[in-house]
Symmetry: C2
Subunit: 406 residues, 2 copies
């Protein structure tokens, strides 16, 4: 009997129906292009932290210690919700970083922040169509993706680097009370790099209260700057804020350790749902626990501030020095990314040429809700060295000058 | 302002609505009870492999090697779908274990098998209510849980340890063509311990073909016996079988490394969906890769056969020697589990007393679809030593004799 070429059509139709609702990520695409490249690229696309400061040796020693001290216990099935001791250490670490998690909140350990958004979308977004997500536009396209699967999404634009909260209020009013889930990256925004000031944070909480909204505060970059306004979760007096963070930027993304801090009732349901996938490695949880206990996380958090501040200064100077007047960006900022927008340039179409010239970025049109300008690009401060940042910007500025309006 | 006690009621209602559809797992409950116990229990509940044979030292050496050879690369974000080289090694390993994955199938690495079922339930189970899951009754309650979230479930009973395929045909006929997803653990069944023979496997495939069904073959225990019938995925000529396996039982569950082998079109969608959670640790993927390459997985797979065969013999002899006539079980079998059923005994109610006497098992009523006999218990061969197995069975037999009909 000849093997048929196709999967049963009734089933393939269902699979394609699911596939049609899934979006490819421009970030994932850029990762694939980096791997497929024959030559080493100046990687301004990746969200991976700087290889210079990822503490490989220390993590290797910790992994050894964990396995020799705990043995089998480090290799058994994980508990839903995460290791009790790790949850305690996360709470203490957050406090040291200035984020006071309310006592009636619980921490749920997840396999990275992305996993947290997937669980949250299922617990909060599935209100049979009546939940709408309000987000910054641009926002991080990958964290938004799972929230989008279950809810309609409304983007709120920035004006000169500041989120337009009047527009947010209009959207909240139009939706009516109790229906909006506000997803924000208020500190060192991805891809913008900007931080929401305390006054705007207070207004977000007032709006959430007035329109009975919940807020998901996504904060992977708090450690990247030492002068942050208080976290929304700390300012909140009505248990409206659910807080998500991760070790991916401070320690290493390959461990897949993130967390949610949520009111205990919500955290309980997230934990129950986590038992449906059981994805968080026991071994990497113990490595994370020991990285907290040994002080490694704290020392990394203080080291990375200067490190990325310096790289950002180089990026800023290079942009100012090279980019043609058709290119705009918000100056300063913090975190791992900066968004630049080149008028008359098609960043998706020109990506292949940029790669031929040795530089890769993430075209950022899909970071906007609805989709934004073709000329927007996300530049990363993670993998490239300061020299590579300067060179990368020079190459891009040439490309933009040549191809803008082409 | 006083902090309110409750989360916003409109939101809490949504959260509770989700919570009401989630089931607590009796397996997870047993894990919690083990941890909460003041004394060391004879653990006949846990699905963790035997601490005696988990290769802690070898895994520790491999982790060191991986981190010193790859450094940063072992700690970056993982690729959706898993490391290319790991997927190749999995295919080769499966072939060495006698499972030939068709060439037009792709492997997708997942964070353990449970994660695979979660992804599969989303890709195959969400046909707007028209997909029905057919499973063995009993089946493994935790893998069934995500499939159940999206589909109605129909249990097919066993008769003297053999799945009633006439009943399966009746169910398929009643559902009509193209609507049934058949979930099976054909080899060393959890919790039954039985293996489906080749003739029955052929009939399952014929039924799947006739009724245009797909089959999910869950096979974590193939390595536990060296005389297995061919895997369904190998016998299948119509691309109807999706195969799921894991390193959890052969190597260590704490790594969270499992996989799906599926027709390339389906694997592509699973990979796309995996980019929505990004849960599989890069570090543990590299550890798994090196465990394959170094021969550790193969040597474990051959070691564990004798090891568990011996423990199963002890269990069998203890059951025959101690249990009152009200207790029934299928003799022999393979894998990590055995189901016993005590007439007139309430296994859930008596669990606390069993724990007081130093033994824990998993009450198995919820493994049945619909829920089954109160007296059913799943006994594990993983954590307990042969002596503990003998002692555990003795304690349970006393308890059952005292409390049956109480």
């Amino acid at each position: 009997m000849e093997r048929p070429v196709d999967v049963d059509p009734a089933w393939m139709k269902r699979v394609e129906d699911v596939a049609s609702r899934l979006e490819s990520s421009p970030v994932e695409l850029a990762y694939r292009l980096v791997r497929a490249s024959d030559t080493k690229l100046i990687n301004m696309a990746s969200g991976n932290p700087d290889p210079e400061i990822v503490p490989v040796k220390e993590l290797s020693e910790i992994a050894m210690e964990v396995l020799s001290a705990l043995g089998y216990e480090a290799l058994v099935y994980p508990d839903a919700g995460g290791l009790e001791e790790l949850r305690k250490e996360i709470r203490l670490y957050m406090a040291r970083e200035g984020v006071s998690i309310p006592r009636d909140y619980d921490i749920v350990v997840t396999s990275g922040a992305q996993h947290a958004f997937r669980l949250l979308s299922e617990v909060l977004g599935s209100g049979r169509g009546d939940v709408h997500v309000i987000c910054e536009s641009p926002t991080f396209v990958e964290t938004l993706a799972p929230l989008k699967l279950r809810s309609e999404v409304h983007g709120i634009p920035f004006e000169s680097g500041r989120l337009d909260l009047d527009a947010m209020e209009d959207t909240l009013r139009a939706l009516g009370p109790g229906r909006a889930l506000i997803y924000l990256i208020p500190t060192c925004h991805n891809p913008m790099g900007v931080t929401m000031d305390e006054e705007d944070r207070r207004r977000v909480l007032e709006l959430a209260s007035e329109y009975e909204a919940l807020v998901i505060e996504d904060e992977p970059y708090r450690a990247f700057s030492d002068s942050q306004p208080p976290a929304l979760v700390t300012m909140d007096e009505e248990r409206r804020v659910i807080y998500v963070s991760t070790l991916s930027k401070v320690l290493a993304p390959g461990l897949r350790i993130g967390w949610v801090a949520a009111p205990a009732e919500v955290a309980g349901v997230l934990t129950k749902l986590e038992n449906y996938d059981i994805t968080t490695s026991t071994l990497t949880q113990h490595v994370a626990l020991e990285a907290f206990r040994s002080g490694l996380v704290d020392s990394m958090a203080s080291e990375l501030r200067d490190h990325y501040r310096n790289k950002r200064r180089v990026l800023e100077e290079s942009l100012s020095g090279h980019m043609p007047p058709s290119v705009a960006w918000e100056p300063g900022g913090c975190g791992l990314f900066k968004l630049i927008t080149a008028r008359g340039f098609d960043a998706e179409q020109q990506l292949a040429e940029a790669i031929r010239r040795g530089v890769i970025y993430v075209p950022a049109r899909k970071f906007f809700v609805p989709e934004g300008e073709e000329g927007s690009m996300r530049l990363s401060l993670g993998p490239p060295t300061p020299d590579e940042i300067a060179e990368g910007v020079r190459v891009l500025s040439e490309l933009i000058s040549e191809r803008a309006g082409a």
